[in-house]
């Protein structure tokens, strides 16, 4: 549904000669296809909620940009920031839980995991603001309106990170970690990657 919406934005943008958001819509469409590609080629299954969240965040961003919500609706920027921050936090969460399981020298208790997620989200938020700043400096655009804007962005990033840290630890307490990681089906994916690599290497031996 929402992917259709992004297509609509791309088509509408071309038709109405409002090209600014066409590339963003196309890129978002590509990114939103990544979970599907992961599932088809590597059989890594991301949790359905996460999948939905990814598409929703991209959708809100593209629609907001296209329809001018970023400028006209006062809370829009904060909403998308909290969304994308929680998304980053969720992806960080999945990666860290997988690391915890598969790398023997890493062990991370739940409390540290929550701490890590908050810190991770905050640092990505900082990188994000720096990127906005750099783009503004280079192109003269106005992604950051003022100090208020960037600081409140960071606050909302923090909020998103906290939410995921709480939900994530709650989630792990109720489905065991093994179950969660198995549901990602990384084992099979690892085997598959290994097989591909072996196939590639074999003739050169």
């Amino acid at each position: 549904m929402m992917q259709l919406g992004m297509v609509a934005v791309a088509v509408g943008g071309i038709v109405t000669v409002n090209h600014t958001w066409v590339p963003a819509a196309l890129v978002s469409l590509l990114v939103s296809a990544v979970p599907t590609i992961l599932r088809r080629d590597l059989r890594v299954v991301l949790p359905a909620e996460l999948n939905f969240w990814i598409v929703l965040a991209l959708f809100l961003h593209v629609v907001g940009g296209y329809s001018g919500f970023y400028d006209t609706l006062p809370g829009w920027d904060h909403l998308t920031h909290a969304m994308s921050a929680s998304l980053v936090a969720a992806i960080g969460f999945v990666v860290v839980v997988a690391l915890d399981k598969y790398v023997e020298s890493i062990f991370l208790p739940p409390l540290f995991l929550a701490f890590f997620i908050v810190m991770f989200t905050m640092s990505v938020g900082v990188v994000w603001e720096l990127m906005e700043y750099a783009i503004d400096q280079l192109t003269g655009s106005m992604l950051q309106y003022s100090l208020n804007d960037s600081m409140i962005d960071l606050l909302f990033d923090l909020f998103g990170g906290f939410m995921v840290a709480i939900v994530g630890t709650y989630y792990l307490r109720h489905t065991t970690q093994e179950h969660f990681v198995e549901s990602l089906q990384l084992d099979e994916a690892k085997g598959r990657i290994g097989r591909v690599v072996r196939r590639r290497r074999w003739p050169y031996k």
Binding site: F112, M119, V127, L147, M151, L154, L158
Partner: protein, 204 residues
């Protein structure tokens, strides 16, 4: 032994600076002082060996920004030298990454957390940037409350963040190299770099 004594001197600077900012109710720096002091005291207190103080160069890096923050000389220099604020921002970045490094080491010593050296390096970089993000937000909120914004433009805030990003990434590499270069005797004397040692040994 001389090394531990140097480290004590540095930690005294840290201690008195913390007392000073506490008297001035400078909340962010109070938090900074208390956290870094407890990281400093923890190995000494648990091993009951005053010579298990953390290496003096690390103590120096940790305590430099708080000293720069309270010193009048530094304030005068920041008004007269254009690059002085860049220097203090960099000192702050080095200090934060050192605290991040100590955190990885002491988490390994006192909790069940286990990291390998790649993850620990990543943690150092991430910690530095996240804390400096928190710090900017904290200063901003503090400024709104007291009606006196220290960092008043977006460019200034971003400038500090750029320096912490650069400093954090540099120190992530520096610390993984640091322990490889450090002599075996010195490493054993401190006895607190276990986690990084393990990965060094494994690499051969």
């Amino acid at each position: 032994m001389i090394e531990a004594q140097l480290s004590w001197v540095m930690s005294l600077i840290l201690f008195f600076s913390t007392v000073y900012v506490t008297l001035r109710l400078d909340f962010l720096w109070i938090a900074f002082g208390i956290i870094s002091l407890s990281l400093y005291v923890l190995p000494i207190a648990t091993t009951r060996n005053p010579f298990k103080a953390i290496p003096w160069e690390m103590t120096a890096l940790v305590s430099s920004p708080i000293l720069l923050h309270i010193s009048e000389g530094s304030r005068a220099l920041s008004e007269n030298l254009a690059w002085w604020d860049d220097l203090t921002a960099l000192a702050f970045a080095f200090s934060l990454s050192t605290i991040g490094f100590l955190l990885t080491v002491e988490l390994q010593m006192y909790t069940t957390v286990r990291m390998n050296s790649a993850f620990a390096s990543f943690f150092v970089v991430m910690f530095t940037m996240a804390v400096s993000g928190f710090w900017q937000v904290g200063e901003y909120i503090g400024g709104l409350v007291t009606g006196n914004l220290l960092v008043d433009t977006n460019g200034a805030a971003m400038g500090v963040l750029i320096y912490t990003a650069a400093g954090g990434i540099t120190m992530g590499f520096v610390y993984s190299a640091y322990l490889k270069v450090m002599g075996r005797e010195r490493r054993q004397m401190f006895g607190l770099v276990h986690l990084w040692e393990v990965t060094i040994r494994r690499r051969g």
